[in-house]
Symmetry: C2
């Protein structure tokens, strides 16, 4: 980072108090001003962040990697002793040999006169449960046979065999493809993409490998900036030198290596507008952090990337989301996984994310003007009530309280609502004050 930029950052922070305030909300603005005066010097805030980071690095590794992935024996993923299915990241050699063994066992079954059949784990929603011990949604172990010599399953057995052979070909060439690519290799057989997608998930469960181990990747949406260096397909990327646009998070996590960082925390941001503000203000230079966003609903690539960062760097993760039921839902996808990817929850989820803001209680605490809050719709309230029933919310008393506050006041607010105190209020006052007060739950 150049000295010029450092100074620009410091000036912005110091000169902030002379910034223009909207006239419409002058009482709130003067309160915002008073909050600014509460800010202690950065050195003091940094000290508390260092304590947080060091506590996170000493804590036990993420539950998922210890209890989940390691419960599987490397040799036979389908005979794990646990009663739920967890898939794990595997290298190309391992996946290829698993496919070979699977196909050999089918061949032996045919030769022995027992016919051509696959044993496929059931991914029905009745089979998806939340495990409080692991703090995520997992898939219970229950397999069904998929024989070729049965009218009901002949087609599915054929498609399964075809997908296995395609995955094998992709791995052999050492490339990555999308689900759409896979579908188009045999449209006649697959019919429509939902069928090849579903079988691909089956194959992932059968082999005990993550979808990214199969080299079938999702499209990327996420971006990252901040105190992070990593290699994307061998190219070393310094995320403090990625300008305002940031580095696109790579679709294929297995090509990411050499992760290094001197950050004290990871700041997970829901929306790209807030990300842009943080990137332009080079927030990570004032408070060493890694800033990432999936621009709304988290995609698989961003979730995998966040998890890798968390596991390798052992940094605390602080989340900045909208104060509405969807902000919380996004948090839950990062933390506990989505239901239809439950078999892969160990690799996709990042436990122990702290909810930094914007929290329903912040609206009053930071006196967000009434006109910047929005009334919750009936649908919002319904979703909010459903969230209250979710096990992952119930586990955290603070979250329950916040959600109850939201439902009582029937108000929601976006991160952007903080702009009502000035465009840089987010980076100059709100976040520093939150960090200073260790105000996360």
């Amino acid at each position: 980072m150049s000295e010029r930029k450092r100074r620009a950052g410091a000036d912005a922070a110091a000169g902030g108090s002379t910034s223009k305030k909207p006239r419409g909300a002058s009482a709130a603005a003067s309160y915002a001003q008073s909050l600014r005066s509460k800010l202690r010097p950065d050195a003091s805030i940094l000290a508390s962040l260092r304590a947080l980071a060091s506590a996170a690095s000493k804590s036990k590794p993420a539950a998922a990697s210890s209890a989940g992935a390691k419960a599987l024996s490397e040799d036979d993923p389908t005979s794990a002793s646990s009663n739920y299915i967890v898939v794990a990241d595997q290298d190309t050699t391992s996946v290829t040999s698993r496919i070979n063994r699977l196909v050999l066992s089918v061949a032996r079954s045919i030769l022995a006169g027992r016919g051509f059949s696959f044993a496929v784990p059931s991914r029905a929603s009745s089979n998806q449960v939340y495990l409080p011990d692991l703090d995520r949604i997992v898939l219970l172990r229950r397999e069904s046979a998929r024989p070729f010599a049965n009218v009901a399953t002949a087609r599915k057995a054929t498609v399964t065999a075809r997908v296995l052979s395609l995955v094998h070909a992709v791995l052999r060439r050492g490339i990555h493809v999308t689900k759409r690519d896979l579908f188009y290799t045999d449209v006649k057989l697959f019919g429509d993409q939902s069928q090849s997608d579903a079988i691909l998930d089956d194959v992932s469960c059968m082999l005990g490998c993550t979808r990214s181990s199969l080299h079938v990747v999702a499209s990327e949406k996420g971006v990252v900036v901040g105190r992070l260096i990593f290699a994307d397909d061998g190219d070393v990327i310094d995320c403090t030198r990625m300008g305002v646009g940031g580095k696109a998070i790579p679709p294929n996590i297995d090509r990411v290596s050499g992760i290094e960082s001197d950050a004290l925390f990871i700041l997970l941001v829901e929306k790209d507008a807030a990300f842009m503000r943080l990137a332009e203000d080079r927030f990570y230079n004032r408070f060493p952090c890694i800033i990432l966003t999936a621009k709304g609903q988290p995609d698989v690539a961003t979730r995998l990337f966040l998890r890798r960062l968390k596991v390798e760097l052992k940094l605390p993760v602080l989340a900045l989301v909208d104060s509405d039921p969807y902000g919380l839902k996004i948090l839950s996808v990062y933390m506990c996984g989505s239901k239809n990817m439950s078999y892969d929850s160990a690799n996709l989820t990042t436990p122990d994310i702290k909810w930094l803001g914007v929290r329903p209680s912040d609206l009053d605490k930071y006196r967000v003007p009434e006109q910047c809050r929005l009334p919750m719709t009936d649908h919002d309230i319904k979703v909010g009530k459903e969230m209250l029933e979710e096990d992952f919310v119930k586990q955290n008393e603070g979250w329950v309280k916040e959600l109850e506050t939201m439902l009582r006041t029937k108000q929601k607010a976006e991160i952007q609502a903080l702009s009502s105190f000035g465009f840089q209020y987010l980076t100059e006052v709100y976040l520093p004050l939150k960090l200073q007060q260790e105000d996360w739950i």
Copy 2:
């Protein structure tokens, strides 16, 4: 680029003929194989690309930058002699002084007893026309008064004054904000975001400045890789070293500088799946090019970025889109602009993009299997017929023919349909052959 990667690229190209072919479409596959044998050595293809690039660099500068932006006198943008409105990129000092002059003239009008009023260009759709000379959609010059002392316009005049003051504040701080940020600074006045957005477009026309000159930016979606070096907010980015993920295109084009490239062409890709294939195969090492995508409908940031590349590097632009009416529509947005941003078409559009593929005639030429083509829906056909009536399509005889072919066969196909010949068919056969045959229109 490391020697290892160069070699990997060469190996992939050489070893391609042994790749696994789907069994389902064996006749088509063997034809695909025969196409591969038609490929001349890369050196010969590169020679024709060099000729293309050198022709492009000698051609006159893009129509927009000569006829459009320069028609405006720097001193008073609203008194340009032409009868249509064109906004231009302006630096912060120029925009600030334009705002100052505008506000001073309003103040003088008040002091002279003529009251408080703005002269605002009409952005009604009846005012948006396609100019064949310029090959883009422009806004005719027709202004209406927006007096404060009139019940019908008092509110709008107030909002206009407020937006002008907010833009002034943003420019003074040297930062960038989103439309959403702008809205949230005064929710009480703006009511809903569509109102502040509309007035922002008015202000852009009134000042004769692009929206990005006002430092109000759109969110970014696009990514870029390949033979390009540029600085994003002072950070130098080498796009050959951005792995598979690529570099996110920055939201604020005015922070982009130092554009350098040894590419022979720019490859504009509609979808991110194709982008990923090209990035992973490091296509730009075999054929020096810059590859970019907006992942579907082009956003403002990507359009601005493409235009900057085209104007500064004077490279030919080749487009790879789906063979359906929307692929063509996307091309039209890049080339001629969208109707609701017509006043800014000079800065957002990139004229002279060549349609490389996937074109309706390619489906038979490359024998894309029937099952990988999709029947056009009634809506597709309606959109296709509308496109035939568009002036920008009519200008290009080749495009009319292709569109007629599409409507006659009633078939469409995605770029991904080429995967039916093998995952790397796109990068190893289809595109090299297209380039070799100079098969663009």
